[in-house]
Every structure is written in structure tokens, then in C-alpha cells.
């Protein structure tokens, strides 16, 4: 017996939307702020960086590159959820320190994943934004815990999650008092095997129709192939995404994680130029960090 307390439900698209994330209840779009960066305005926010923090040199060089090319926020995993226990599991707190150093040197805030309720406080001490990964989208105790923090949250859609379940996961966070949530479409699992996942770009207009929360897209996990990332990044902005999160590695062939879907700094730089044109075609813009920033 489910007793969902929806203030408003929208069945027009076959989906019941819980109250706190519901655009009918709160028609104004939520703006999620990190310093002077805003998700949910006409600005397109670009998050970029490697899958995993591997070393101080790797991260800081990459951070410098992506900042120069136009990224607004740095990404990098310190705690890595890996399908196999024998895969690289991340540098842990050491990774958080390297991320902080990269922020210090480039001025870029960073987002990093938190996997364990016991790590939430630690990660919050370092990070500017907490990521809840796809495999933890229905880790309800983790959702509650990040909901109790004062940090913005990047919530990735589960690879098996319906739109309704995705919004209910966000509701768990808002229900604890934290409304600074950015939703991220990152591909769903289907029968198609040519791509790693099937990037569900129609989720972008659907989510923006049903909810007031900002929506970004991850074309790296969404496709799993480096050569598909730029094209699908353009398509995501045309579909109305408020931003992108893109894996960039200075040497994808040697990446400890997800090298096959990481683009290199030159490709990233070319992509930003193309994105700018598409953004303008839909009356939006990429806002590059000021060159005067440290």
C-alpha cells in the first residue's frame, strides 16, 4: 500500500510527480548556485574533468586546460563505484585534497561523488557540490543524508530508473530541506549495445516540464564512445539542457577509468566553440570563466 502524499500529480505524461520537485506547486524555476555559477538560468554550465583523480599532476593539468577552454566546474572522482572489486577504487581522501589544490590553483569549484553515508560529512568539507551516482540513485539513506547538507547536489539518473522514480529520488533530498538539486540524464540501459547506454534526451524536456529543478546531460556515460560525445553534447543543448558534464583526460589512452569515453583537451576546446553556436541558436550562452581569475 503506497500512500504517496502528492500535492499535485501530473498524469498528462503518465507520470505522478511528487510535491516538492513539482513545477505545478512551485512554477518558478529553481536556480542552483555555486559561487557566481548558476544552473537553471539562460547560462549553460559546463562541468569537465577526468573520471577519476589519478594524481596531482594529472588533475591539475587537466583543470588548467578545461578552465582555459571554458569549463565552469571541475569534476573528478575520489571514491569510485566500480562494477568489479578488482578495478581501481579511487584515491579516497587524498583525491579530495588534490581536487582542493586544483581549485586553489585554477579557481574552479569542483563536484565529486559520495558513495557512503559515513563519507558525506568528509566529502562535504572539501567539495563544492556532492554527486550521487547512477548506481546510488535509489540508495535512500544516502539521499536523506545529502539532503541534510548545505551543499548543492548533482543527482544522476539511475540507468534503470523511470522519470517518476528519478523525481521521487530528488524528492527525498528536497524533503530533508535541501532544494539545491541538479538532475542529470546520463543514459539508460536498453537492448542496444552499439552505445554503452541509450542517452534519453527526451528526458530533458520531460523533466523540465514536470519539475522546476535544473537538468544537465552527461554525454560521456550516455554514449560510452569518445567520438560520440561532441555530437550528443550539441544535441543535449538543443534539447534544452541547462548544462553538461563531460569527461576530459589529457591522455585518454592511459586513463585509469573510462578512457574510451573521455575526450582530450583539444577536442574539448573545439567542442566549446561548437556549443556556443548551438546555445545562441536557442537563445542561451556559454559563460567562460574570466581570464583574470587565478
Amino acid at each position: 500500500m503506497e500512500s504517496i502524499d502528492y500535492n499535485e500529480a501530473d498524469y498528462s505524461s503518465g507520470c505522478a510527480v511528487p510535491s516538492k520537485v513539482n513545477k505545478k506547486v512551485k512554477p518558478d524555476r529553481t536556480i542552483v548556485n555555486i559561487g557566481d555559477i548558476s544552473f537553471g538560468t539562460s547560462d549553460i554550465v559546463i562541468i569537465a574533468g577526468p573520471c577519476a583523480v589519478e594524481s596531482s599532476r594529472q588533475l591539475i593539468e587537466t583543470a588548467g586546460f578545461v578552465r582555459k577552454a571554458g569549463a565552469n566546474i571541475l569534476r573528478g572522482g575520489a571514491f569510485k563505484p566500480r562494477s568489479s572489486p578488482y578495478s581501481f577504487q579511487g584515491l579516497g581522501e587524498e583525491g579530495l585534497k588534490i581536487l582542493s589544490e586544483a581549485r586553489h590553483q585554477t579557481g574552479l569549484p569542483f563536484v565529486t561523488e559520495v558513495m557512503d553515508t559515513r563519507q558525506v560529512e568528509l566529502v562535504s568539507q572539501y567539495a563544492d557540490m556532492l554527486q550521487v551516482g547512477s548506481r546510488n540513485m535509489q540508495n535512500f539513506v544516502l539521499l536523506k543524508e545529502v539532503g541534510m547538507q548545505k551543499k548543492p547536489v548533482l543527482l544522476k539518473r539511475g540507468m534503470m530508473a523511470t522519470i517518476e522514480e528519478f523525481l521521487l529520488a530528488a524528492e527525498y533530498i528536497l524533503n530533508q530541506g535541501n532544494d539545491q538539486v541538479v538532475l542529470c540524464e546520463r543514459g539508460i540501459r536498453t537492448f542496444e549495445t552499439t552505445t554503452r547506454n541509450t542517452l534519453d534526451l527526451s528526458a530533458v524536456p520531460v523533466l523540465k516540464h514536470l519539475s522546476h529543478l535544473p537538468v544537465i546531460v552527461d554525454p560521456s556515460h550516455g554514449t560510452g564512445h569518445r567520438w560520440l560525445v561532441p555530437t550528443m553534447a550539441l544535441a543535449a543543448i538543443a534539447a534544452g539542457a541547462d548544462g553538461l558534464i563531460i569527461e576530459v583526460h589529457y591522455n585518454p589512452e592511459e586513463a585509469l577509468c573510462d578512457g574510451h569515453q573521455s575526450i582530450n583537451p583539444e577536442e574539448f576546446s573545439a567542442l566549446i566553440t561548437d556549443l556556443d553556436k548551438i546555445a545562441q541558436a536557442v537563445d542561451r550562452k556559454i559563460v567562460k570563466p574570466q581570464p583574470s581569475a587565478k
Copy 2:
């Protein structure tokens, strides 16, 4: 024991590509021509019209509207594949005659579906382009039959078909001597129910990477919701599509078929304006029919 005679196979994306559709075998992109309309160039080709031909008045009025707004080709079903035997099955040959009359009055060529090997000759006598629908994508005898015609073919991806199966279906047509094939992504079936299908836009760059055939997108069937059609049409062009096929009805609420996913003439007209901006952002263009044409 499969004995596929691939001249070249491309495993880079986990997909074996048969020889006649394979871009490695024939690197030049195939141009599919219908009069002065060309699929596979920098032009974006727009196909529009109702799901089904319902009456002479309905079709001819709609044809006039979509031509004026900028459509290049008219669509309309005379023979309709319907899940239920009790749903409207189309007007049959009478529908083909109405489509021909609309072409006569507006100058727009038309594409219409053929469902039965026994109808292929009849439909070929009327239509400018033969459509093989999603449910018939692996109707191999039908593929062979349209492959023996001298008409361009619009081949829609099966809702359950992998990229590899889609290309093998096209190979059946080319293998009979007809290389005038346009591929159409129209949404795949997944667990998500908010949308009718999941529009797999990454199929566009994947297909254009593996094959020399033009690729268009159907955002109407791909989403199943009128309000999603314009956004996903924009995203399709950003993803590199060579054209679009869009359901337009002058009164969607009263359509005998697929009214919930049909846009009206005003929405279609506004969409063309927006598409033009996106097309330019990716160095392509919409070519509207000349006003001087009848």
C-alpha cells in the same frame, strides 16, 4: 551457422556492418533524390503531413499548410498498420489517389507506407517514395520487393531493432539493386513509459559513422507527445540528422490516428523558424519550396 559475407566489418562500436551499406566500402555519402530534393547533402529535408489520409479535404488543406510553412515532401498513410484489427485501417487505393491529387495541387511529392508484397507495384505507381514501417523492418520479403523497385525507400527502424539489424535490413534492399534508401530513427522500446518510445538520437551519428546512407528522425512517433515534438526535432538536427518526418494535422484532437502526437499547422510553422537557426549553427540549411511552384 550465419555466413555473413561482410567485405568490411567495423567492430569499433561493437557492430558488424554489411558491405553494401558500409561507409568503409563506399566512403562517399549516398544522395537520395526525389525531383530537386536531396537527402544526404547539407540541406535538411522536411517531410510532413497527417498520420493517415482521412479525406480529400483534410489532406489537401494540410498539404497546402505544410508546403507554405516549408515542408519539402508530404506524408500520409493509405494503408495503415494498426495494433488492433478494430482500429481505422486506412483508405487504401482511394488514399493513394487523394495523395496524388494533393501532389498535383501543391507540387509536393509524397511518401506513403507499403505493408504487403502484393501492394508494392500499386503503391509504386502513385508514390514518390515508399515507406517500410517499423513493424515491417524485418519483413524480409517486403524488403526484397521494394529493393526491386526504382523508387526511393524510407526505411524506419524497428522499435526492437539494434543498429546492426537496421543496417542488415537496409542491406536487403541494396542487395536487390536499389541504393536509394533513407534510414529513419523513430524511437525504440525501453522500460520508460513517460514517452511512447525512447528516441535514440545517438543512433544518428552512429549510423552516419557506419553507413553512407542518409539518416532522418521521426520525433512524432519517437516521443508520442505533441509538446515534445518541436524540442526533439531541434535536437535531432543538432545530432546531425539529414531531415525530419513530422506528423501535422489541422485538427489533432479529431485525427483518426495519432492525434496526440501530431502538431498543428501553427506549431509546425513556428518549428520551421526554430529549425532554421539550429541548422545554421551546424552549417546546414532548410530549403523551403519556391513560392512560385504551383
Copy 3:
């Protein structure tokens, strides 16, 4: 606008059931007869034979083996639907003649696939039962054509068809006056790749709950692996199936089609022994052909 004329609809399982296949409209179970063989009684009907008819010797030897082991009906493809145009397409009418000769020598009736409306009469002249394959489950003109014959039909579920679509496909046949339809679950397409398809055994009790038509299971296509066939055949009978269709080849390694999912005669014979025990545990029985039969 769908205007489905349901006399009765059953929403208890989220599925609308059309009238002619609906158990609420006709509570008595339909019995489908081929000579003295009956689908839909307490008897379990076993269909066995090779994927494709390859030669007279191959088919007739196999027919003898499977008859002796306990098969009631012979299967074998003369017209083969193949994903690739370069795969073996079947022997055509020659295959039908070989099937007839095998029937003459063993007394086993046979079922074979029909793919083209133009072949329906021809195939009907030879076969005891017409198979509509998975890829043609929504080939509506073919469904109508077999509905006009006086032959029993084996309708296989589309690999991505819902239960509702499957029942609507059967309704097309009944709506033409032919109620001798046996439904066949043969695996659906999912994200799982360990098995060729995911055999949806819960479809068996669901279909028998919603419809009065007999239901059988194809564990060969449903799993795609020879070693899984016996186990899933047992499970199918426990789930309430009225029969099985199993690929048997006297030399699976050399089969021109589907050898990896074909069992050999010894495995088939052992399976029948095990099936008999499961059948008895659910108060049913395997009825082997009389040894005195030719």
C-alpha cells in the same frame, strides 16, 4: 484515435484484452486439433525438429528420431527469415516437399513458417499448421491472410511485443474466422546478453488467465543455448504451458541455422523422460505417438 471494440476488457493486470481471444467472453478453453493431437487439453504437445530443412536425409532421419523419442509434430523451416541477406534463406517449396515426405514416412504432421502473403496458399497446401514468426507478429496483412485459411496457426510472440499486442495479433486471425490459434512464448529482448533472449515464462500463466487460446513455449529461441534448453523446457511445463517447440538437429555443430541452440536426438530423448515426471507433478501427461503408427 484508437476505437478498439472490446466486448470485455481486463485491467486487473494492466492489459486490455480484445473480445474474440478473451476468456471472459468465451470461458471454455479452445482446443486446437491436428489429427488426433490436441493443444489445450491435459496433454502436453511436443513439436520438434531442425531450425531449417537442409536436405531430405537430414529431415527424415531427424523426424524418425524425434518421433521415436516422443514428439507429436515435426517442425522445419522451408522459408527462413534471416537478419542478413547473405544467410541461408531456406529451400523454399523443395523444403515443403521434403517435409511432406517426412510426414509420409513417419506419420508426424508438420508445422512450418509462412513469411509472405503470396506464399500462404502454397504453404497451406503442404503444411498441417502454419507458423507466423516472431518478426512477423505485427505483419497485419499476413495475419489476415492466415486468418482466412482453414489451417491451425502457431503464432509466435514478437521479441518486443507486449502481452496486449500479442493478443491483438491473435485477434486479427480470429477476426477473419480462424480460431485455431496456438500462442507461443519464445523469449523477449531485454538488456541481458548472457542468453539470446529472456524467456518470459510468466507470460504463460498471464496468457492463460486472459485468453482461452492454448499456449506453448520455445526454449530454443528463448535461451539461445543448447545446454539451457532442457531446464527451461521443464520450467515451462511447471509454469502451465500446453506444449513445447524444440529445435533438434542430428548434428548441431553442422546445422545451417541455429545449431548453437539445437539439442541432439540423445538429449531430446532424455528430456522427454524428465518432462514426463514434471508433467505428472502438475497432473498432465506427454502422449507419445503409437509405435504401431507408420
Copy 4:
């Protein structure tokens, strides 16, 4: 860059199997013991009880019923993972105390879900077996934590996890030193909506072929409909399952959770009788608790 350290890999079914769960590395089947109950022998182990612990009376009455009918282990959720934050979240530690009281009164050991790394020690103090639920199958920190306990673990397959991912999740537990893991197939998410999930019974023989761990089936979540539970329970045993976990509620209509898929005590009792026949047909047996037990 994945660097999976497989001692042995089995590609025969397209699946790489990690070393500690791999049957080629350790051919003997693992026996998981809880008192005198053994998973992985010829005995079929029956776990039964309500979705959630709702009250002392509800649980203890149900425990008495299912024990008498033949259940070996009691199930009941104290911490409940719910899609919506507004659904009943379980009684927490109070639920664990009620479960312990039921064990005291009936002699049945119990399994209950643990959702949070911070709860693992607490739950371990009460429970006889720790359940990791479907939504946490890739909660890797939780897997590691239960791997460090001395308690048997019931690991449910993620609703969109491949066989390979499922085995890798189990490997996380074994890799921490705990090899007392029982795998549970509970339905996967597909396009089919008639059933809540698609129960993938072929996973049973596949898992038993690839791994030495015991495998059980959950027909309640696997189907989502009370009337399908008994049939699919029979099919699961025919498919080779080592046990079943079944939701039983003394008044399903009033259950706080999953009432639509819970059977009542009478249905459960009748099911055990039928299961016994199927078990014997595959040379196995149901071992009911001794009536002399408290």
C-alpha cells in the same frame, strides 16, 4: 581501464566470471548454513513472511502460520527502501526486536534487509541472515561491509543488472572473506508492463552453471501479482532453484507494503503441497520444520 583479475573467465555464455564466485575455480557447490538449514543441497529452502514488519501481532501470527505450512526461514523488513519518501519506511530497530521475538516463539531464523553501512552491525546483532536489496546491489560500500560480517548474506539481483554485474557484486562480498552468499533472482525490468518485473528464470541455470553459490527465486517481486506467485514458484523449482522467498501476509488487502503481491496463509499452505510434487520430480525435497520444535 578495467583491470579485472579473473583467475578464470567463462566466455561460453558471453559473461566474464570473477574468480572467487567462479565454479571453474571452486567446482564444489557452496553450502550456506543457518542452523540446520542448508542452501545448496538437494533440500529446497523456503523463506516466507510479510514485506514489512508492521506490528508484533501481525508478524508473530504470520510466523506461526508459515512455519506450520512448511517455511524454514522468516522474512520481514524493518528498514524498507521505498521509491517515495512519503511511503512507510519500516519500524527500524523496533522491527528487529519483533523479528527476534517471532524467532523466539516459532524457532524460525529470520532474514531482514540492511540498507546503510551504519546499520550493518546493528542488524547483524539481531538477524540470522542479512539481505542486500535489489536497489543496493551495486552499493559497493554496503557489499564490502556485509562481506566483513560473519553472517550469511542474501543478495538480490538488481532489477537491471546483468548476470555478470550480479556475480561481480557477489565477488565484492566474497572478496572480504564472507563466502556465505545466496543469490536471488527477483525479476528484471523490461518493456513488459503486465507483470511488475519479468522473472528471468533462465538466470537460475545460468548462475548455477557459472558459480558455485546457491540460487533462490523471489516470485513475489518477480511478478508483482498474487495470483502469479504459486505458478512461478513451481516453475522456479523446475528451473533448478535451491529455494524460494515468498511474501505472505495474513491479510494482504491491509498490508502496509506490497499487499498486491502477497499470498495469504491458505494459499501458501496449498503452494507447499504443490511444490513438494515438483521438487520430487526433479529429485529434491521440501524439508518442513519438525513439529516438535518450539
